[in-house]
């Protein structure tokens, strides 16, 4: 099962809130829950292991859960994972996990709302793909 609190903080670090909603508010976690229960069912354990590893990495670096780190500390942690420059011992490839994490988060934010994310088609308004969206 996906750890909601860590996941929420991670996706919001990947697509932060500005004048438009961040990933969590846009429904990316709902998208991911659905995706890892369907198309990526076979990768769910891999993904969960990766999130657990982010948590361990955050504690090793800053002595606190990922969700309670400052945005800067969160970014430093994710950048290290993206580079494979990790302090803790990972059971899976950090880069492969990060690739999946970044892509699936973008999918949840930018693809069609029928998939569970992009609530109110907010990213389509943000990008200008749709001028006005019937929610």
């Amino acid at each position: 099962m996906l750890k909601t609190e860590t996941l929420r903080a991670v996706v919001d670090c990947l697509i932060p809130t500005d004048e438009f909603p961040g990933a969590y508010e846009a429904g990316v976690c709902d998208y991911l829950l659905r995706l890892f229960a369907s198309d990526l069912r076979d990768e769910a354990e891999f993904f969960t292991t990766g999130l657990d590893s982010i948590e361990l990495e955050a504690r090793a670096r800053f002595g606190a859960p990922f969700a309670s780190l400052t945005p800067e500390q969160q970014s430093i942690t994710l950048e290290a994972i993206e580079q494979g420059d990790v302090l803790t011992s990972w059971q899976i490839s950090p880069q492969r996990f990060f690739e999946m994490l970044v892509c699936t988060t973008a999918e949840g934010f930018y693809s069609d709302p029928q998939q569970g994310g992009n609530r109110g088609a907010i990213s389509w308004t943000m990008t200008g793909f749709e001028d006005q969206v019937d929610a």
């Binding site: 697509i15 932060p16 500005d18 069609d112 998939q115 990213s123 990008t127």
Partner: protein
């Protein structure tokens, strides 16, 4: 067992036309389609599962399970691939085939595309050859495809390179903001441009509505049925004669021969029916696409006396260039592709062939995120989000198909160890295009960047494929036509050498695949071959 004049295998760009021409000539036709008929709702608008971006699936067949292929990478490692994976080299499997969900670019090939070997010589390791027919031979059939299916364009702006007797039946798609930016850039460079010809009703045509300029064209189905494919033009005509039976969900396992070795019909399976079906005919026409047509001939042991079937698999590799315009260039008006240059299809110093460059169909934001971001931009964080927010509507896109230089080792064989859900050995894809293709791609990528620079872009970036197998939705070349049976599979009509009544009619016939989207050429050849077959029957 039922008897027909002709059995046509596959209802795509070619098969629909063959069925139509034969049925209208009074011939009794069985049209077999492995997929099903897809409604607009069936195709849907899933941004992650469509024929353009197929991350977790696709929307036009074949089904993800039960239809494997084997892909062999350039290092020789083989693996089983599923239909939505890039290395499967899929084309849609449904009534209409690829035309159900294509972008419908309606280019004629350049006259020099038919004489590549004579014009350039044959590079080492390539099987480059001339076509047995010329552009002039095919010209009336291009015209027929444009008028009978319905093409929109401006004949005056392409006429300098591709002589035509008659203009398009429909006016071209209107320009968008990006059109004027690119037109200015081209004119600064002294390049000519043209509206992109499309098999799309820019006005009502043949009883069907006009395009409503939505954002979902390539990869999707048309909400007003204004995109002209086999499924809404020639197949309804074929069925209206009463002479054509369309059997969907039917995959052909074998082309049957009689005791004299003469082709007599086909053996096929229909979904949900365990027993194999058989049908008899005077003529069998294979129009299953370059990969599946080769697979069927190989599985049937026909036409391959000289080890030619399945070789020379071609498609198109695309260079892609992007530039950040100083103003908004996206107005949300589809289909989105509006302007092209054919300046570099030939006569480029040191390059064999070349290609066409055009702007692009509207890209859904997730497709843009995957495809179009600059390489120096972080893929996450506030800067990534800000780029998507500020620049989705400011990026100019230029891309285009580059003429493949055929490699006989880029090929389709069959893998008897891997079977589909009916137990039929599957296609095995191996090899790459010829290195000369990649040189042309690199050249065209630089032209794309040049165009964007001249169009006033501040920041320019680009990408291109390396030496890989070419095929995918523009797949062609695997049963090429020619005069010599040792180096070709069929004669100029698509008749398989040494067989009176077995034809291949689809992109497989293309000796070379032009530096253009190939569908109009597939259609023109289909009109020409089916007229010939009708005369013979």
């Amino acid at each position: 067992m039922k008897d027909y004049d002709a059995i046509v295998v596959g209802s795509g760009a070619a098969g629909g036309i063959v069925a139509c021409v034969l049925a209208e000539a009074g011939k009794h036709v069985l049209l077999l389609e492995r997929g099903r008929e897809l409604s607009f709702a069936d195709v849907g608008r899933d941004h992650l599962r469509n024929q353009r971006l197929a991350i977790y699936g696709h929307n036009a067949g074949p089904e993800l399970n039960g239809n494997p292929r084997v892909f062999v990478d350039p290092e020789g490692r083989s693996r089983i691939v599923r239909p939505h994976e890039l290395d499967y080299h899929n084309n849609a499997a449904c009534v209409g085939g690829g035309t159900r969900v294509y972008g419908a670019q309606a280019w004629r090939f350049h006259p020099d595309d038919f004489r590549m070997a004579s014009k350039y010589g044959i590079p080492n390791g390539s099987s480059l050859a001339d076509w047995p027919i010329t552009y002039e031979t095919l010209e009336p059939y291009y015209e027929r495809a444009e008028w009978e299916l319905g093409a929109a364009g401006d004949g005056r702006t392409i006429n300098h390179q591709v002589p035509r007797r008659r203009d398009y039946p429909l006016p071209p798609v209107p320009p968008s903001p990006q059109t004027s930016a690119l037109k200015r850039g081209a004119s600064r460079l002294g390049w000519t441009t043209t509206p992109v010809p499309l098999l799309i009703n820019t006005e009502p045509y043949q009883g069907r509505a006009a395009c409503i300029a939505c954002k979902y064209c390539v990869g999707f189905a048309c909400p007003t049925d204004a995109k002209n494919g086999s499924q809404n033009t020639v197949i309804p005509r074929a069925l209206a004669t009463g002479n054509c039976e369309l059997q969907t969900n039917a995959i052909v396992a074998n082309i049957d021969v009689d005791s004299q070795g003469k082709v007599s019909g086909v053996t096929y399976f229909v979904d949900g029916i365990a027993e194999q079906q058989r049908a008899r005919s005077k003529v069998v026409v294979v129009s299953a696409g370059a990969i599946e047509s080769a697979r069927l001939l190989l599985n049937s042991g026909l036409g391959n006396e000289h080890d030619q079937v399945g070789r020379n698999l071609q498609g198109h590799l695309y260079p892609r260039a992007y530039g950040l315009a100083t103003t908004k260039v996206f107005d949300g008006v589809g289909p989105g592709v509006t302007i092209a240059t054919t300046q570099f299809n030939h006569d480029n110093a040191g390059i064999i062939g070349g290609g066409m460059l055009a702007d692009d169909f509207i890209k859904p934001p997730i497709d843009f995120w995957y495809d179009s971001l600059p390489p120096d931009l972080s893929r996450w964080g506030i800067r990534n989000k800000a780029f998507m927010r500020d620049n989705y509507t400011r990026v100019l896109h230029v891309r285009g198909p580059v003429q493949d230089i055929p490699n006989p080792d880029g090929r389709v064989t069959v893998d008897v160890a891997v079977r589909d859900k009916w137990g039929i050995p599957v296609a095995r894809l191996s090899g790459t295009t010829h290195p000369a293709t990649v040189e042309a791609v690199t050249f065209m990528r630089a032209r794309g960047e040049e165009w964007l620079r001249a169009s006033g872009c501040e920041k320019i970036w680009s990408a291109q494929p390396g030496l890989i197998l070419s095929g995918r939705q523009h797949q062609a070349g695997t049963c090429r036509m020619g005069k010599d049976p040792k180096t070709s599979v069929t004669d100029e009509w698509g008749r398989v050498h040494n067989h009176d009544n077995l034809f291949v009619v689809d992109g497989s016939l293309h000796v070379t695949n032009g530096g253009f989207n190939p569908v109009l050429t597939i259609m023109a050849l289909a009109f020409r071959s089916s007229e010939h077959i009708a005369r013979q029957l």
